[in-house]
């Protein structure tokens, strides 16, 4: 099958490859660039596991052909925090508030939340739930994801306050809603 040349800036680096015109962006990211943090969970664009940030907006990379992303800028989960740098606020929020269990939907969920906070830095619970309507999680029941986004909104620099550090010594709050 014929191929076309595609140049896309991914996580700040311009990448050029020959790809079949039919190749989906998600498969380009996973199979060509070997950026396997972006996942595939369905084939009907419902689940959002493949969400990346494309020219500043959340996009489901299974609904975009690689050729359509030509000359675009893409951020994947691997590009959120540079090597050696701390987690982004959203990543840290998911850690602090137990916003993930199996972790499969998580990269897409984090990218969608990152795009939400870029547009709306102080979202209500209602706004968070609606912004995440296109991202499915089967493990958490979403409340802790909502809490994670609120944590990130409340800690935009991603720094964990001293008092609630991740040290495993915090007293148990049985059944508490954080």
């Amino acid at each position: 099958m014929s191929t076309v040349s595609v140049s896309i800036t991914v996580n700040g680096e311009r990448r050029t490859h020959e790809v079949e015109p039919r190749v989906l962006l998600v498969h380009y990211l996973r199979d060509v660039l070997r950026l396997t943090g972006t996942h595939v969970g369905c084939d009907t664009s419902n689940c959002g596991a493949c969400t990346v940030i494309l020219d500043g907006a959340a996009a489901k990379s299974c609904t975009v052909l690689a050729v359509q992303a030509r000359e675009c800028e893409i951020t994947t989960i691997e590009g959120l925090a540079a090597p050696g740098e701390p987690f982004s606020a959203v990543q840290q929020g998911f850690h602090q508030e137990h916003g993930l269990q199996c972790g499969y939907c998580t990269p897409g969920m984090i990218m969608a939340c990152t795009a939400l906070l870029a547009e709306n830095p102080d979202p209500t619970e209602h706004e968070i739930r609606h912004a995440l309507e296109g991202n499915l999680c089967r493990c958490t029941g979403y409340q802790m994801i909502v809490n994670s986004v609120r944590w990130a909104a409340d800690h935009p620099d991603g720094i964990v306050p001293e008092s609630s550090d991740a040290a495993p010594s915090a007293p148990a709050m049985q059944g508490a809603e954080s």
Partner: protein
């Protein structure tokens, strides 16, 4: 310092939030080729011919296999009713693989699968229990003569009790067929080389799979390795032996290439085994005070096209747990299994117990409705008293370990103002158009911690224990290897928490490794809410033994009696003399140096393996309440409150326990209101994508309000009962009871799940 009960953040998270997790499809070996299925579009047809010539002619296609290429590869499942790896002569459900294609890339494999032409001769299909049991129904497996696989009759149908009873209530319930929908569909990568076979699989029980694969192919276990890397959700649907694992291995052996299979979601919806799919006939007899006198439950389990051993166990669990939290003088149960032209049915979160709680919690609401009593009060009058444990039920499987059902209900009623809500409910009903309010309760319990000796062997497992090995490293850190194989539960964190307190080694210096048969001694797996209650107890047991041995070394260093050594600070000290101490790092280092340990000791002694057993199942329980509002114009149902009191005994990590509850509750709400796999009369599945199978998003689910009850189990030293399935057990009846309650003034006594706005709207229209 004990970390049991501490809100510890997960060790699992850093990889998973940075895209550095490793799921099966992320792994590609040199030379990997891709496998894809050609699946049946027919529910019940004879295969007349398969033409693969066009597919084979496609450059980059390595093989197309049909059943005729499977010589020597046996069937899976029940003897005599086994499922072939690829349909042989007859297909029995839509989605059943009829051929498998291997190509250089996933795009090529998909192209080639499209080019395979299958010629079918249609036969009549039976795609429901009713159709399969009808006179003259098409027979799926001629060896059965009909479509009933097994029928356990009532030992005594209690007819005399029912005819003598002052009141009775009866319901026919459909427990809707659900798809587990882990966001990661099935995937595997098989690499069968000259030195042996390695299979990466998204699976809940790696050793179970390793043992089965080895015996299936007649190869030694030592050169057969199964790795379950990060697993993207399981929910019970990843413990079944499905054809793809065996085919990938066989193809890799033949082609001498690593073979990868990654299921599409559309395939997953029809290939991954479904759950629930039960019909239940329940009758109760009760007196004027609402006290239950007798319970009779007949379960009919849809097994799908090929009965699976786990599927066969579902009605056993349902009937064992049918009496729930209640003291009922007489209980009679009966069940039968039926094959249909549908996807096979096996475990889905709760596996038989959500079906049981649904039976008893629906019928007790009907008793309340018929007798004019408050559903809270009817439950309270029938609870097994807290001082009657252990409590032997009608089933030898179910001897309840501990519980306080009235206590949990009392705690539940502190979470919201029930009386005020009832007043508001009455006020709204009197209006013409304000939203109706419904309040639904469930007091549930389930059977967990699988299990005591013999409980898993029946499903083909090697044992019912769980393995834990603790290896103290020379620097004083420790690695725990366990056969528990988590897929989101947070076991790496909770096991390290348990060990930290017992070992006196800091949480940050304890790693937990799992999911690899080459490194973990032996193992069973994570299902049946067993990881903490069995494996976690193993961590405690092994830790205690490690400390015993470490004390001998510490005593030698401190020139003291081992009986006088205690854990202290970051190591060991002589009891009462904290200054006479040695750090863990020194004890660990010297444990490997023969000249620095007692002469009668061996180096490397701080390495303990435990095969942890438990004497009985545990029985997590709880009390839930769901409140709903119903739009009278559209039938739309909104959950306005979800109040949850769980009693799983000792909580290791409240954050993670809460997460388990939320996830189970979400799936329970989904079963009650949104999800249901259905087939049309011809056997065509109606929900083969996520466009037409509604797994809820954040917009469909409420916030949850939690309380907690705590009756530790006596079955293990931790007191932990298990929490993984609770939410999915307790929630569906609470939600359905709430919707039925909202409509009860219209004479509604039951609505089947999933209760859609349409079914509510129909009720409201009829009432006009």
């Amino acid at each position: 310092m004990s970390l049991i009960g501490a809100r510890v953040l997960r060790k699992e998270d850093p990889n998973l939030i940075t895209g550095r997790g490793q799921f099966v499809d992320d792994i590609t070996l040199a030379g990997t080729v891709v496998m894809a299925f050609v699946t049946s579009t027919e529910p019940h047809s004879r295969i007349l011919a398969i033409d693969a010539s066009e597919a084979l002619a496609l450059p980059g296609v390595l093989a197309v296999w049909t059943a005729s290429d499977l010589a020597g590869l046996s069937t899976l499942g029940l003897p005599g009713l086994g499922r072939p790896l690829l349909a042989t002569d007859v297909v029995r459900f839509v989605g059943e693989p009829v051929a498998v294609v291997v190509a250089e890339t996933k795009y090529l494999a998909a192209d080639a699968a499209q080019l395979v032409i299958v010629d079918y001769e249609s036969m009549p299909a039976a795609a429901s229990i009713t159709a399969a049991l009808a006179d003259g129904a098409p027979v799926l497996h001629s060896v059965l003569g009909g479509n009933t696989v097994f029928d356990q009759p009532f030992a005594d149908d209690l007819e005399s009790d029912f005819s003598a009873a002052p009141h009775t209530a009866s319901l026919h319930l459909v427990n809707n067929r659900c798809a587990a929908v882990p966001i990661e569909p099935n995937a595997c990568l098989a690499d069968w080389g000259p030195s042996g076979l390695t299979l990466w699989a998204t699976f809940q029980a790696p050793h179970h799979l390793r043992n089965t694969i080895a015996s299936y192919f007649g190869i030694p276990q030592d050169t057969t390795r199964v790795i379950t890397p990060d697993v993207g959700g399981g929910f019970g649907a990843k413990i079944n032996f499905v054809p793809e694992y065996f085919l990938a291995c066989a193809l890799s052996r033949t082609l001498a290439r690593p073979v990868k299979y990654t299921q599409t979601r559309s395939e997953c919806q029809v290939l991954m085994y479904h759950g629930r799919a039960q019909e239940q006939d329940v009758d109760v007899a009760y007196d004027d005070e609402g006290k239950l006198l007798a319970l009779r439950v007949r379960v009919t389990q849809d097994q799908g096209a090929y009965p699976d051993p786990t599927g066969m166990g579902l009605p056993v669990l349902t009937t064992a747990m049918a009496a729930g939290c209640y003291k009922i003088p007489k209980v009679a149960v009966s069940w039968r299994n039926v094959v249909t032209n549908t996807t096979p049915v096996a475990a889905y979160r709760g596996a038989g117990r959500p079906e049981a709680s649904y039976v008893i919690e629906r019928i007790i609401d009907l008793v309340a409705d018929q007798s004019g009593l408050d559903p809270v009060e009817v439950r309270r009058r029938n609870f097994i008293p807290a001082d009657e444990f252990p409590y032997a039920t009608h089933s030898p499987l179910a001897v309840y370990d501990s519980g306080n059902f009235a206590g949990a209900q009392t705690e539940l009623l502190t979470l919201f103002d029930y009386d005020a809500l009832k007043v508001e409910q009455a006020r709204r009903r009197a209006t013409q158009d304000e939203k109706l309010i419904g309040i639904g309760f469930s007091s549930w319990l389930e059977i967990a911690a699988f299990g005591p000796p013999g409980s898993l062997e029946g499903f083909g497992h090697l044992g019912s224990w769980e393995s834990v090995q603790i290896r103290v490293q020379p620097d004083g850190s420790a690695i725990i290897y366990t056969g528990a194989s988590p897929h989101g539960q947070g076991t790496v964190t909770t096991f390290a928490q348990i060990a930290a307190g017992e070992l006196g080694i800091p949480f940050d210096k304890i790693s937990v490794r799992h999911g690899d048969t080459a490194t973990v001694p032996q193992g069973i797996g994570t299902m049946g809410s067993r990881a903490t209650a069995v494996g976690g107890e193993g961590v405690r047991t092994a830790s205690v033994r490690v400390v015993e041995r470490a004390k001998v070394i510490a005593a030698h260093i401190l020139e003291a009696d081992p009986a006088d050594i205690v854990l202290d600070g970051d190591g060991f000290a002589v009891n009462g003399t904290p200054s006479h101490a040695v750090p863990w790092s020194e004890v660990a280092w010297k444990s490997f140096r023969p000249l620095e340990i007692p002469a009668d000791s061996e180096p490397g002694s701080l390495d303990i393996t435990v095969f942890q057993q438990v004497p009985n199942f545990s029985f997590p329980s709880g009390a839930y309440c769901c409140t709903v509002e119903i739009d009278r114009g559209t039938g739309e149902i909104e959950i306005t409150g979800m109040y949850l009191v769980d009693d799983c005994g000792t909580v290791i990590n409240p954050l993670l326990a809460e997460g388990q509850v939320h996830g189970g509750v979400a799936q329970g709400i989904a079963q009650a209101l949104y999800e249901g796999i259905s087939y049309d009369a011809n056997g065509i599945p109606q929900n083969s994508t996520l466009m037409d199978y509604l797994i809820p998003a954040a917009t469909e689910l409420p916030s949850y309000t939690s309380g907690r009850a705590n009756t530790p189990t006596p079955n293990n030293g931790l007191g932990a009962k298990g929490i993984g399935e609770s939410g999915s057990v307790g929630t569906p009846p609470a939600v359905v009871n709430a919707v039925v309650d909202a409509l009860s003034h219209l004479g509604v006594q039951h609505l089947d799940m999933p209760i859609t706005p349409l079914s509510v709207w129909n009720v409201l229209e009829e009432a006009k």
